[in-house]
């Protein structure tokens, strides 16, 4: 009451008391939440769905996965069977992508190539993830001298030319699928470790981590439950971008004769075989493997770009 009197005195005397009408309490619309509250992941997912190019990439990758799994089953030809009477046949209803110089079905071989490419890409990304997250997580979380020491090592590895190291390892270990994956993983995890370490360094100073520490949570649990989920965005992006570079590396190695060996078929091997056909006009032998390499890398790249945009909290609207 006191207060009211005081307020009234300040109002100019021309304003009569009746003019003061209490505000009708409406069901105030301002408080209604128009936009449903979305979790970070749901929000990112919706933003990814809106990105047409990224979705196209994803659809292609699903299609490719199906082709890699079921393609060889629906094809009536096997990858190894050589029919010397059917050399270099152009694409037809019998041989969808034609045949090569040994009469092997290019479609079946392309499907096997998809298997190898996807397998190499996924395995490389998975190993990079496992090593990089542990290494970067520990370095970032421990900080100080441990971090300094661990990152010196990473810097040296980072300075090494990636493909040169891979080539060297392949020369020593000999060609093959397993050795490709080993060679790719030897220095591949370095990029992931750097990203995780940078994120962890930043996040570990946030209050919720401090709170967790105050409750006496163990270090491993803090890294697992508090730090990693918050670094997941950049990690996923890094993984999607590792896959195409691993696929490229495999194709590259196979192309220069260090990768997958016959009778196995990889896109790089097929492209290398097909190289001689430029002059002879058997275009399908070169066209299909190279088309699939390019499309796959394109799909992973646009998906990675889309994820980067979708998972970036700064862009959240």
């Amino acid at each position: 009451m006191e207060l009211r009197k005081y307020e009234k005195q300040n109002i100019s005397p021309d304003v009569p008391d009746e003019w003061f009408v209490p505000l009708i309490k409406r069901n105030s619309e301002a408080d209604v939440v128009v936009r449903p509250s979305l979790s970070y992941w749901k929000d990112s997912w919706y933003r990814l769905l809106k990105n047409k190019l990224a979705m196209a990439g994803m659809v292609f990758l699903v299609f490719l996965t199906i082709l890699a799994i079921f393609g060889p089953m629906i094809s009536p030809h096997s990858i190894e069977t050589q029919k010397l009477t059917m050399q270099n046949l152009p694409p037809s209803s019998k041989f969808w992508f034609g045949t090569d110089d040994l009469g092997r079905d290019v479609f079946t071989r392309t499907c096997y190539g998809a298997r190898i490419s996807l397998f190499v890409g996924l395995m490389a990304a998975l190993i990079d993830f496992l090593i990089g997250v542990v290494y970067g997580g520990v370095a970032g979380y421990k900080g100080g001298r441990t971090d300094n020491f661990m990152m010196r090592f990473v810097e040296i590895l980072y300075g090494l030319p990636y493909l040169l190291v891979v080539i060297l390892v392949m020369v020593v270990l000999g060609p093959g699928l397993t050795t490709i994956i080993i060679a790719l993983s030897i220095t591949g995890w370095v990029g992931m470790a750097r990203i995780v370490r940078g994120q962890v360094l930043q996040i570990k100073n946030y209050e919720f981590v401090l709170a967790s520490k105050t409750f006496g949570t163990k270090t491993a649990r803090i890294i697992r439950k508090n730090l990693l989920p918050n670094t997941m965005g950049p990690i996923i992006v890094q993984m999607t971008l590792t896959i195409p570079s691993a696929i490229f590396a495999e194709a590259f190695l196979s192309f220069i004769g260090l990768g997958i060996q016959a009778p196995h078929a990889s896109w790089g091997v097929m492209a290398n075989d097909g190289l001689s056909t430029i002059l002879s006009g058997y275009w399908w032998r070169l066209f299909f493997p190279t088309l699939f390499i390019s499309l796959t890398m394109f799909a992973f790249n646009v998906l990675g770009d889309g994820l980067q945009d979708a998972l970036d909290p700064k862009l959240r609207r």
Partner: protein, 310 residues
């Protein structure tokens, strides 16, 4: 600056030494002697060969000798190409590879920056989408795929350019195009992103308010800052161009270092593999140093920061 340079030099030498050591022991851990394939050689010849290539000495002695020779820039003899040294091969191959790599880098930088700047200036316009589509395609299509495609279209179907080899400027067009597209795409995307960020900053508004011409704003004010992230990736781009030359030289039959390297891999010519790897690594590490120095020149704030940190 001087101490920084000195520190970098030491780090460089250590990295190089690690590479040399790693390469040496990796190469020597391959089972079997390089002469095992040739069954016809008798025992004495085998022994002579082994002593010529020092393979009869203990590994550590070989390692010491190799290091001593390296200090004198002697990379040793080739095993498969008799009477030739690795230095001979590199001396013949390097000028060609350097030419290819250098032109490629120039083409990639100029076209990449142009594409990125144009895309940023026409943000969300048709040109923007067009140049970014080109960029994503450029990143996605492996250089050896592009090279074969270019040969098929522009040398076989429509014979404008020669199919292979390296002798006149006309021969250079296709290999450079095939090799430059990937790095160009990466540069274009980076330039676009950082240009967009720079263009929203206040000092650009000030420049506009002062009535400076758009050309001056873009080239003098925006681009200099926008190029910093681009400079940082130049080192790794040089690496990818370098490794790219392996396949490109193989496809186009260019007598460069990369071709010798791939040949030596297929022939299992270990001294050549080793020597070439070390040579490549040395170039790369040197490039990274150059990039760092360029960074300091482009952004004076970095030097200041370094001084404060001390």
């Amino acid at each position: 600056m001087k101490t920084y340079f000195f520190k970098r030099l030491i780090a460089m030498i250590i990295t190089l030494w690690l590479i040399i050591t790693g390469t040496f022991f990796l190469m020597h851990s391959v089972p079997g002697s390089p002469f095992n394939e040739e069954r016809t050689t008798n025992e004495q010849i085998q022994k002579n060969l082994e002593s010529y290539y020092q393979l009869d000495k203990p590994l550590l002695v070989q390692y010491g000798n190799y290091l001593m020779a390296l200090v004198k820039f002697d990379l040793g003899p080739s095993i498969k190409k008799s009477s030739q040294t690795v230095n001979d091969l590199l001396g013949r191959g390097f000028p060609v590879s350097f030419e290819l790599g250098f032109y490629t880098l120039i083409v990639a930088i100029i076209s990449g920056i142009t594409l990125g700047v144009v895309a940023a200036l026409r943000h969300n316009g048709i040109i923007d989408y067009l140049s970014m589509s080109i960029a994503v395609l450029g990143i996605s299509i492996p250089n050896f795929v592009l090279a074969t495609f270019l040969i098929q279209q522009l040398a076989v179907n429509i014979p404008i350019f020669p199919v292979a080899t390296w002798s006149s400027p006309k021969h250079m067009v296709l290999p450079i195009l095939a090799l430059a597209t990937g790095p160009m795409a990466i540069i274009a995307r980076l330039t676009r992103t950082s240009m967009l960020e720079v263009l929203t900053q206040d000092y650009i508004k000030t420049a506009k308010a002062k009535g400076l011409s758009p050309v001056k704003i873009v080239f003098k004010h925006a681009l200099r800052n926008a190029l910093l992230p681009v400079v940082t990736v130049l080192g790794s781009l040089a690496a990818s161009i370098l490794t790219g030359t392996f396949v490109i030289e193989k496809i186009f039959a260019i007598p460069g270092m990369g071709k010798y390297f791939v040949d030596s891999i297929n022939n299992r010519d270990y001294p050549v593999i080793m020597g070439t790897t070390i040579f490549y690594s040395a170039i790369l590490i040197f490039m990274l140093l150059l990039v760092d120095l360029a960074y300091g020149v482009l952004d004076p704030r970095i030097k200041l920061h370094k001084k404060e940190a001390k």
